[in-house]
């Protein structure tokens, strides 16, 4: 099992679960990071944090610490 925060840039994976039941995990799920959804790590900000994700056809920015709440299945083939 791996974490979204550790995914290499340009790769994608399916979400396995979101850790925790606090405001942050609720927010991540509301924004569409639910089990089974496919998410790609598009890039990171110039200072290394936050990360830019793509899921459900849109772009989402999360901090590295927040992405650490997202558990993923093994990476899928790269996007491009």
């Amino acid at each position: 099992m791996s974490l979204l925060a550790e995914l290499p840039i340009g790769s994608r994976a399916r979400v396995r679960s979101i850790v925790g039941s606090d405001e942050l995990s609720v927010r991540l799920m509301e924004m569409g990071l639910t089990p089974g959804v496919e998410v790609a790590l598009v890039g990171k900000a110039p200072l290394g944090d936050p990360l830019e994700l793509e899921l459900r056809g849109y772009r989402l920015s999360v901090r590295r610490s927040e992405a650490a709440r997202v558990e993923i299945e093994s990476p899928l083939p790269a996007i491009h």
Binding site: S25, L47, D49, R59, S61
Partner: protein, 746 residues
């Protein structure tokens, strides 16, 4: 005339074109205010239908109707008809982004559960088509059980059909109950909780089903505190714990069950409705984004954009401000010439007209800054700016969203404080608002310029590379930034302590900014400033005028200098017009009159206060004159030049930007000596101490009034005033005490 008035709530995710649709529907017939007790903006417009009129309530953009704070509760309260002023809601207009239906329908699923007549406006279909997404609108409407209307908010397309569908939905009345997206076991738990709450006799009104469901799902404890009161809290708490345990065992853990259920419902709704290409089709915006978020190019573009905005503010706003200033001066002269010398003339010219001027002079900066901020926000770049700057801001306990408001404050804290509306989290927003006035605004620059010009030698240090004057100016800006960072850190660890709010932020697709929205936002902010702050600033200006005018009594000076003026005037009137001798006499008369004015000022309430506080400003290295000028600058720091001008007998109409006026003033300042010792008042430590004081002090009534307006509370501007003034005093004292003990460097 309209037969009946209906209330319609407009709701949608951020970045869906909601504001554009609101303005397309309501035009300029809008009222803006605040909901009581919260910082949420209340925006209501009037929409004319064929046979009726609608009150359109624009709810704040949100991804979810799951209140975890009073601010988030507002939208739910409005929808449930709990806001007395608005009354019950007759219909909901829900706007969704067609290029991003999955996430937008999450909110729709919550809205539909409220059981109100609902119309869906499907916006941004052109972007969806560009991404190769095809939507069967009719089928979507059938699946949702609610009319779906394709609109193009920016081109006013679909507005007529939207109105027709609204009228139809309202006349059809409350729709038949829709199947809940939640699993059966969860629904049963909610029903059990509902009957438990109903057994609480004390409550006058039943809690709506939607809120009972939210109570079950809200793990933050907010709704529990808000709903289950009256000694009933323990019972509800116990029940909730057990119910959640049962649900977790059944494989429906709270709160995850909600996202699972709703996104499951969304997938079901969209089956056979939406066809997407197997790979995301890259549109122009995606290619632009790759550059704008690039490590090197993105940073460069960002720096260039910010530089461009600031240059524009200074280059464009400065002449406008000068023009307003001289226009106000001209009006003051014209009006003054038509009034007799005396308190009335001084009140009208110096108090009222001068006061109005001190309000209007901010307008160019506010409007130009908001023009650019609205462009950046509407095209989608604002979110990228927050993305680029987040890591930097996290170090002081804030998020990337605080960067632009704080940067704006270098031009003027007023638009900076108003720009904090982009920050959703209340604690982050307040912290940003409270430290924004520490950024060295453009009104501080003349104060720095004149003191540095007069007292810091024009030499170069660090091996002759760095000019010392520039270094001191830079140090003043740095002082503001460092102090703001420290204050923010302290605030986030003390009175505004709380869990770090999630950053999780959508990076919206780029689009061309809508000129209408940009101009509207600019006008709205300008008007908000004039209407809400203007009157109060005017009142403060008149008070300060009164304090520095009355009692207007200096018998000794009048007795000794009055006849001299009279005699000089007689001599002058005997001379030929435009002769050099006459001009010389004119300037002599002016000097004597200035001396009389200075005596009045010394004897005024403000002047007496200056003398009275001299012991307090002595540790700062100041004499009573500086203390008096600092006091007079509390309503607006830019008046310090005028105040010093009066005190040093130069007249009050000194022009801050005028080099020769600056020279005259600095010459007087250099010549000033202590009355008791005869030593010069101004030394380098004293000049630095004044600069530090002006850098840190809350000398701007407008900013404080705007903080009151944006925070909805007088407590926060009071706090800002006290903490900044205290810091300014201590900072100035430390500067002088340390500086005057160091060996003289220059």
């Amino acid at each position: 005339m309209a037969a009946h008035k209906f209330t319609v709530a407009l709701i949608g995710n951020p970045n869906t074109g909601k504001s554009t649709l609101f303005s397309a529907l309501a035009g300029i017939r809008q009222r803006v205010g605040n909901y009581p007790g919260v910082t949420v903006e209340k925006k209501i417009g009037t929409l004319r239908g064929d046979a009726c009129e609608y009150e359109l309530v624009d709810l704040p953009g949100t991804y979810s109707l799951a209140p975890r704070s009073p601010d988030e509760m507002v939208a739910v309260d409005v929808l449930l008809g709990n806001v007395a002023e608005l009354g019950p809601i007759d219909a909901v207009l829900s706007i969704v982004d067609a290029s991003n239906l999955d996430r937008n329908l999450y909110l729709v699923s919550q809205v539909l559960e409220l059981g109100l007549p609902t119309v869906i406006a499907l916006n941004m279909c052109d972007l969806a088509r560009a991404r190769g997404i095809q939507i069967d609108v009719e089928r979507l409407s059938a699946q949702l059980g609610a009319p779906v209307v394709e609109v193009q908010a920016n081109r006013q397309l679909g507005v007529k059909e939207l109105k027709e569908q609204l009228a139809a939905a309202i006349s059809a009345g409350i729709p038949a109950a829709r199947p809940s997206p939640f699993p059966q076991a969860f629904q049963e738990e909610v029903a059990a909780l509902e009957s438990l709450l109903a057994s609480n006799e004390i409550r006058a009104r039943a809690i709506p089903r939607y809120l009972v469901e939210r109570l079950m799902l809200d793990t933050s404890g907010y709704l529990q505190r808000a709903l289950a009161t009256n000694g009933f809290a323990d019972v509800v708490d116990g029940h909730l714990k057990l119910a959640r345990e049962r649900l977790a065992k059944a494989g429906l853990p709270v709160p995850a069950v909600e996202a699972q259920a709703r996104y499951g419902w969304v997938a079901q709704m969209l089956t056979g409705v939406v066809t997407r290409p197997p790979e995301r089709i890259e549109v122009r915006g995606d290619r632009i984004d790759r550059i704008l978020t690039h490590k090197v190019w993105g940073t460069l573009v960002f720096a260039a954009a910010m530089l461009a905005v600031f240059s524009a503010v200074f280059v464009v706003a400065d002449p406008l401000m000068q023009a307003i200033d001289s226009g106000i001066g001209w009006i003051g002269n014209e009006v003054g010439a038509r009034l007799d010398e005396g308190p009335l003339r001084s009140l009208v010219v110096d108090g009222v007209i001068g006061g109005v001027g001190s309000v209007l002079v901010f307008l160019p900066q506010i409007m130009i800054l908001f023009f650019f901020l609205a462009v950046l926000e509407d095209c989608g770049y604002m979110a990228r700016a927050a993305y680029l700057m987040d890591k930097l801001m996290v170090r002081v306990g804030l998020s990337g969203k605080s960067f632009i408001p704080l940067l704006s404050s270098f031009a003027c804290a007023i638009p900076g404080v108003m720009a904090t509306r982009v920050i959703e989290n209340r604690r982050d927003r307040l912290t940003t608002m409270l430290v924004a006035p520490l950024m060295s605004c453009s009104a501080r620059l003349p104060v720095y310029a004149i003191l540095i010009g007069a007292f810091i030698p024009p030499i170069a240090v660090a091996g002759g590379i760095v000019p010392l004057q520039g270094l001191v100016l830079f140090a003043m800006y740095l002082l503001g930034i460092v102090t703001a960072a420290l204050v923010a850190l302290v605030l986030k660890r003390t009175i505004l302590r709380g869990p770090t709010p999630p950053f999780v932020m959508e990076l919206p697709s780029y689009k061309w900014p809508s000129p209408k929205i940009v101009l509207e936002r600019m006008a709205e902010r300008a008007w908000a400033f004039i209407a809400r702050a203007g009157t109060l600033i005017l009142a403060v200006s008149i008070l300060v005028w009164a304090a520095s005018y009355f009692p207007h009594h200096a018998p000794e000076i009048e007795a000794s200098l009055g006849p001299r003026v009279h005699q000089l005037e007689l001599e002058r009137d005997a001379l030929v017009e435009h002769s050099p001798a006459r001009e010389q006499l004119d300037s002599q008369i002016n000097d004597v009159e200035n001396e009389i004015a200075a005596a009045y000022q010394r004897n005024s309430f403000l002047g007496r206060l200056g003398h009275w506080i001299e012991p307090a400003v002595r540790p700062l290295g100041w004499d009573w004159r500086i203390g008096c000028a600092a006091l007079a600058s509390f309503p607006a720091r830019e008046v310090v030049m005028g105040a010093l001008g009066v005190i040093y007998n130069l007249g009050s109409d000194l022009d801050v930007g005028d080099a020769s006026d600056q020279d005259r003033l600095s010459a007087r300042m250099r010549a000033a000596v202590w009355e008791d010792t005869g030593e010069p008042v101004y030394t380098v430590p004293v000049a630095l101490s004044i600069m530090v004081f002006f850098a840190l002090c809350a000398q701007c009534a407008s900013t404080l009034v705007i903080i009151r307006r944006e925070s909805g509370n007088w407590w926060w501007p009071a706090f800002t005033f006290v903490y900044m003034t205290t810091l300014a005093y201590l900072g100035a004292m430390a500067t002088y005490q340390v500086g005057s003990r160091l060996p003289t460097i220059f």
